[in-house]
């Protein structure tokens, strides 16, 4: 269906089927091919709790402009089968303009789908596949989609050839034939979508997911040591690091648990190597005691928390922005540290790189709040620019006289001796200490060191990177992390309807930036915070720490469903009339 006039021209396509049906493969190929044909887009997957053999949905959105949120409804849903469709139909919104392609051999179109009023086209995918030697329904489905949306033939072919290189010529031929059958079948259906293929890429484009992007940002920032314990949805970030660090003279160690991984990276960083771990909520919780050690002993480390549904084990495979509280406040005692949130898949590169740089420059732990949505969505993006930050760790020169590890100089950043440097030996300590690092329970030492650790973070000039601020309306919408994408698109849609809004999306969440907040909201009558959690965590934080200069409201709800542009347009419109 063509987008409404005020919508970003885009197409949303879902492929569903039970495990083994190959919908994820087909979805990935669709995205790859679309990228080659010059469009932007996203690929997200949803799957059941089974490790293998469960149902899955491949959800692709293609657009002429960069997009960062799922479409409001799927224009095309092609179902290889209806396995467990009840469980995730809610993730696949349809409208009367949607086209549903179903294989009659898989039974009737289920009520949850039919109820949408979508047009139904029947196609015997399974039987068709049997007409091709080794043909598979998923490749037919891919062909149908390609045919419907007008994907140039040569790109699909190129992508198939690359994807099936290892499987041999026979497999490739089977796929090609099946694909062609699909394209042919599409010719019998009517579908009218935007033409996404006209625009040639002017800049280099990448396909990357947020976990890879965070990994790349980390190594750009200098990280060469990673210790970690697997956890969904952070594991693929770790796997990317394990493979890629090898090429840079770095390495990843699998730790026995998260208590070990955080301590291992503290040890490596103390030894002079920028170090990182990645985890999700349960692992972050286990790290909180030792994050406090990094604060007190002033050792830079970076923890990427790829958030998932909470609390406790929660919903491991789905997204939510509910670890903000623990990231900000999960350490015991007064323990100031850095918290950052990437604002999009490709911003995971920048924000993680910046987090490493800040951690190093400020000798502080930094927590990066990514989430499953950013981490596991593959996106077609412009190549993220390569920024060379100037600040870095201040080290103590060897033999330059007495070295006071925790000296009250440099705005709270004291030169850090690296083991091996002669004459600068000291003991890093989590006990309260004096300037030399010797344990002290004196009130004077306690307050000076607490002041120092807060001042170095509060006094640093974070420049414009602290937030993305766009537009100039009298009303502002504040989003953070993965919610930014959907809010940005919603504001654009509202903008084209003549309502101007300001978007404020902070990348730096802690230390709190009350002055910058006030500036960002200058001239704003009223602001709305948008976030994906149950207890409005950022909204509360803003009110408690930032004295916003205008009334602030909030629209929030928990995951696992991502925020949709249409949902936000409706909410923001309602709010803006309030």
């Amino acid at each position: 269906m063509t987008a409404k006039d005020d919508e970003t021209p885009s197409l949303s396509i879902a492929l569903t089927g039970s495990g083994g049906a190959g919908v994820i493969t087909a979805g990935n190929m669709l995205l790859d091919a679309a990228a080659k044909a010059g469009c932007y887009g996203l690929f997200a997957r949803s799957s059941g709790p089974q490790i293998r053999g469960g149902e899955a949905a491949a959800m692709v959105r293609l657009a002429k402009e960069p997009v960062a949120a799922p479409g409001d409804v799927f224009d095309i849903l092609i179902a290889i089968d209806w396995h467990n469709i009840d469980r995730f139909a809610v993730e696949l919104p349809l409208s009367t303009e949607s086209l549903v392609i179903a294989d009659p051999s898989q039974g009737e179109v289920p009520e949850v789908i039919a109820a949408s009023g979508a047009r139904i086209a029947e196609l015997p995918l399974k039987d068709l596949a049997k007409t091709v030697a080794k043909g598979r329904p998923n490749m037919i489905a891919l062909g149908v989609v390609a045919g419907l949306i007008g994907l140039p033939d040569e790109v699909a072919d190129e992508v198939m050839a690359r994807a099936l290189k290892k499987r041999g010529d026979e497999a490739l031929a089977a796929s090609r034939d099946a694909f062609a059958l699909g394209v042919e079948a599409a010719g019998t259906m009517s579908f009218d979508g935007p033409d996404l293929w006209t625009r040639a890429a002017t800049r280099e484009r990448w396909i990357i997911n947020g976990n890879e992007a965070a990994g790349l940002g980390a190594v750009r920032g200098g990280v060469r040591f990673v210790a970690a314990y697997p956890i969904t949805p952070a594991t693929d970030l770790l796997e990317w690091m394990a493979l890629n660090l090898q090429r840079l003279g770095g390495a990843l160690v699998q730790a026995e648990d998260e208590l070990a991984s955080i301590n291992m990276i503290i040890g490596a960083s103390y030894g002079g190597t920028p170090a990182l771990t990645a985890t999700s909520g349960p692992g972050l919780a286990l790290m909180s005691e030792s994050l406090g050690l990094a604060v007190a002993s002033e050792v830079p480390v970076v923890v990427v928390d790829v958030m998932r549904g909470g609390p406790s084990t929660g919903i491991p495979t789905k997204s939510e922005q509910s670890d903000l509280n623990i990231a900000l406040f999960g350490l015991h005692g007064d323990a100031p540290h850095l918290v950052l949130a990437p604002t999009s898949v490709s911003d995971c590169v920048f924000t993680t790189q910046w987090a490493v740089t800040l951690a190093e420059a400020l000798q502080s732990p930094a927590i990066v709040l990514s989430d499953q949505l950013l981490g596991q969505t593959r996106a077609i993006v412009d190549r993220p620019t390569d920024i060379a930050f100037v600040s870095q760790r201040v080290t103590a020169d060897a033999g330059a006289g007495e070295v006071r590890r925790y000296a009250l100089a440099g705005g709270g950043v004291s030169p850090m001796a690296i083991p091996g440097a002669p004459g600068a030996q000291y003991t890093a300590d989590g006990l309260e200490h004096d300037e030399r690092g010797l344990p002290s329970s004196r009130a004077g030492d306690h307050v000076t060191q607490l002041d120092k650790r807060a001042a170095k973070l509060d006094g640093f000039d974070y420049g414009n990177h602290w937030a993305e601020i766009e537009g100039d309306g009298r009303r502002a919408v504040v989003a953070w992390g993965s919610s930014t994408g959907a809010v940005r698109e919603a504001l654009a849609r509202l903008g084209s309807r003549g309502h101007e809004f300001r978007l404020v999306s902070p990348r730096l969440l802690a230390p709190a930036q009350p002055a910058r907040w006030t500036e960002a909201l200058e001239g704003v009558e009223r602001a709305l915070v948008v976030e994906l959690n149950h207890s409005a965590q950022f909204y509360r934080y803003l009110k408690g720490y930032c004295d916003p200069p205008c009334p602030v409201d909030v629209y929030h709800r928990p995951g696992p469903l991502p925020l949709r542009v249409g949902e936000l347009v409706a909410e923001i419109e309602k709010w803006s009339r309030s």
């Binding site: 990228a35 080659k36 890429a201 280099e204 484009r205 990448w206 396909i207 890879e212 790349l216 190594v219 750009r220 060469r224 040591f225 210790a227 890629n244 090898q246 090429r247 840079l248 003279g249 770095g250 390495a251 160690v253 730790a255 026995e256 208590l259 070990a260 991984s261 301590n263 291992m264 990276i265 503290i266 040890g267 490596a268 960083s269 103390y270 030894g271 002079g272 190597t273 170090a275 030792s290 406090g292 050690l293 002993s297 190549r383 060897a398 001796a417 083991p419 091996g420 440097a421 002669p422 004459g423 030996q425 000291y426 003991t427 890093a428 300590d429 989590g430 006990l431 010797l438 344990p439």
Partner: protein, 279 residues
Amino acid sequence: MTSSPAPIPGLTARDYKSEVKPVWCPGCGDFSVLSAITKALAELKLPPEKVSVISGIGCSSRMPAYMNSYGFHGVHGRAVALATGLKLSRPDLTVLVTGGDGDGFSIGGNHFLHACRRNVDMTYIVMDNQVYGMTKGQPSPTTEPDWDSALSPGGTGLRPFHPLVIALASGANFIARGFSGDPNGTARLIVDAIRTPGFSFVEVLSPCVTFREDQRGWKKIVRPAPVDPTEDIGRAARRLMTDDGFNLGILYTGKRKPYQLRLDAVEEEPAALETQFVV
């Protein structure tokens, strides 16, 4: 075991001590362990700045501050993990871990297990006083089942944890027991522990004179192990399983290759990784 250390020209034990006065109780065994460690380092002539001493929390874990090397006084129970990160990323350093029986075998038990298995080249010295000294006298995993205390009136009733057996079972490459009352002997054990590649574990019986007055009697019980060090894991197992906890000396020394990271691989720039993403 090396022969008795000859007088060392140049560096002496003193050069490895800091100016900080220990908080330990007068008579605490840990003073002698400090001596033993610094003697061992002097024997090895290691530049103090190339040595890092890592610890957790406890009386014994205060060690790093009393030494003139680099140190890290981390959190309770996690020293071995912190040291692992340091040594893996800085193979040029000599890494020692020092701590207590509570720190190492109670809260830190998992890292102990996995450090033995991982076999990173470092030396772990546990000052075993069979009690939590710093928190004023609670039973530790090595405490006898009938030792009375406020937290476990009448005793825990639990079988003591046998650190050397666990070290052997989980793969430590060098296992020895020393006694703080014999700082020279302990220094020799530490020298050998440091020289042996891989994860070396040295339990040092170090009396807590404040909460375990009875341990003053240890000096009468300890004795050199009546056997030679062995490389045979089966023999070591049998020997340790029947050990009464007071045999001193090297009880096992293996030949497993230490775990190391390949950090000297191709030196590429991050930009080289980008091709994988290009459409």
